[in-house]
Subunit: 421 residues, 2 copies
Amino acid sequence: MAVYRGNFLYTPALGQLKVVERGWLITENGLVHSLTQRQPASAGPLTADFGDALILPAFTDLHLHAPQLPNMGLGYSEGLGGWLERYTYPIEHQYADPSYAHQLNAALISQLRRYGSLHAVIMGSTSAAAAADLLEQYRRSGMWAYVGKMNSDYPGYGVQNEQTAPSIAETVQLAHRYGGPGRVRYAISPEFVPCCSDELMAALGQLARETGLPVHSHMSEGESDLQLVRRRFPREGCYAGVYARFGLMGSGPSVMAHCLTSPEEEIALLKQHGSFVAHCPVCSLDLAGSGLPPIRRYLNEGIPVGLGSDIAGGHTLNMMQVIVAAVQISKLVVQQKPQLSPLSEVEALYLATKGGGAFFGRVGSFEPGYSFDALVIDDRHLGQLSPLHLSPAQRLERFLYCGDDRHISRRYCAGRELTAL
Amino acid sequence: MAVYRGNFLYTPALGQLKVVERGWLITENGLVHSLTQRQPASAGPLTADFGDALILPAFTDLHLHAPQLPNMGLGYSEGLGGWLERYTYPIEHQYADPSYAHQLNAALISQLRRYGSLHAVIMGSTSAAAAADLLEQYRRSGMWAYVGKMNSDYPGYGVQNEQTAPSIAETVQLAHRYGGPGRVRYAISPEFVPCCSDELMAALGQLARETGLPVHSHMSEGESDLQLVRRRFPREGCYAGVYARFGLMGSGPSVMAHCLTSPEEEIALLKQHGSFVAHCPVCSLDLAGSGLPPIRRYLNEGIPVGLGSDIAGGHTLNMMQVIVAAVQISKLVVQQKPQLSPLSEVEALYLATKGGGAFFGRVGSFEPGYSFDALVIDDRHLGQLSPLHLSPAQRLERFLYCGDDRHISRRYCAGRELTAL
């Protein structure tokens, strides 16, 4: 049992902010047992008093690319073709070098830890060894992650990244080796429909059914993208239809990044299969051009949504910036679609914590039974001589807009404090 | 004479990036004398070798509100009315307290210095004492600024912030006291047409003609805004027409913030009078709803444009984030107006340096005769094990997207290194 005191803030539901000022949080075996305003009679000695700091659930980064860390902030004015050719692919190939991948994986875990993204869904390159290395390093970190080797055997955009047979064989091997229970597990990761052969998708779908492992992929990033899918699969006509046909949606949990231009039938299939949408708003601004996703629409349908940094389509791992971009984009969407309401900061925080966290289970909240995965926010030097008495909710808002890694002073995962790597 | 070595990057014209790797920059009396690739025969001993760092011209923040520093990151989902009532106005009133204003002014100068915005055009509250204090503190800082007490005597939005006669008298006094030459000067600062009486605008216009001092105001922040102006001034029909009629445009230099929804006749008047547009892209995202300004259109017309943080309509003083937001917004504008091309990072950097800097004269570039106002960028810890050999231009791009104040290691203004305050 551990006992913590502090100002706890969390979002039990979309749009709800629960604030417990100077409250008592008790954990057992790394899980939240209770959070109360008054000192519980049964509480033992204090494990830690966080004083006036804010305590938030740790963030979930629901979509990012491991090998793209060195490309953050580069090439966004290239256009997609030049960006892939000059930036994305060279790094992906480099990632096949084990010592390079090892260093890069360590840097990625360290950066995600620094920004408080203690749960992450990560797509690797096509290198199985690099994905295995990331899984191994993650297991030593104490944090949560789903990691997959990317599968990409079909030249939908003119490039064939790998052969079908080894792609399947390596994936089956990884899935069985890293498919067991635990905080770090394998995710089946086809790149996206245009770059996957029928044979590959069928084999991965079968693997999903056999293992129950989640599927992590991209969906409807733009109109040109969707046209490729419609031409090749006229009967299904959209990504979701193809994934569903091959068992890549509906066999187990799945998370689809983007959904910028999902047609109505795709929205219906997402809903039917309980798929998560990974909303990557910074990427939508950096590589703008394919439209802005109507996230409120998905939420209204009951589709689960989380936030992703999508490095290096997005330029930052700072989840506070991702939250702010989600709010900003939602206001721009309302200008085009006045029937949708914008997201509040509290709603965007929910997406970054409990919303996306649900993909991992009971993480992202301080309700009983949730993993105690928490960030301690020291915002003493964030304000500028404010004469206003800010409420904890206002301090939270200011931290989201103006904070960075310097203002996260401590990080807990499954009840353990994470120390610097 | 001082001699510097380093990797100098600057934008002599919109869209042009000039890179002088391991070059030699010589200054005389704080002005750039020459910048050459080879060591000049006449060069004396090195004053400083910046090694592998990047050296950029200092930024110009062309529009911000001094008393809004404590409001950064607060209240953006309130809607304009609630935001003004609960956030903006209480702080503006507090700013009339001299000791509070003094502390806040010191914090503002320190923050602008930290982010490398060594030139700033700053609107105060209606307090003349607070504006005078900011001018005095700025004179001791070594940096450049235009500062004005805000004039706001007409209840266009239901609030009358001050009386006409003292507003005029105080402004005339400040303008004469701080109107002389130097790096820190007074700017005549009517809030905007809806909040200024005819009498006030006429008096300020006369003052502009008499002193030649610049005018700093807001223009066309939205359709509702424009309707107020059209109803009160049907003959002029737009902000620019009203300002021009009262001598607030065309008497001397002027800078107008926003211009989100400027009608065609306003664009023509901006062009005719050589007015600057202060583009505040972060504000356009944070308080989205009134549309995104077609900056490329203004540039095509030859209207001078700079960038503003517009705190606290925008949530950050970090000019790198402002530059990135300008690029992002320009891509979104292209989705609505395909005839306009997006801004590149190099173009946005130009706006933040030489473009906006032109309001101050010869600042924002390393061409001969320009004030040596420079930032030394230490980006050694910004990259993640990149195997790519990044060019200086790519390092610049990465700094703009991923850098913060930690990566600005030294700051020079008029040839002097600025030390921490």
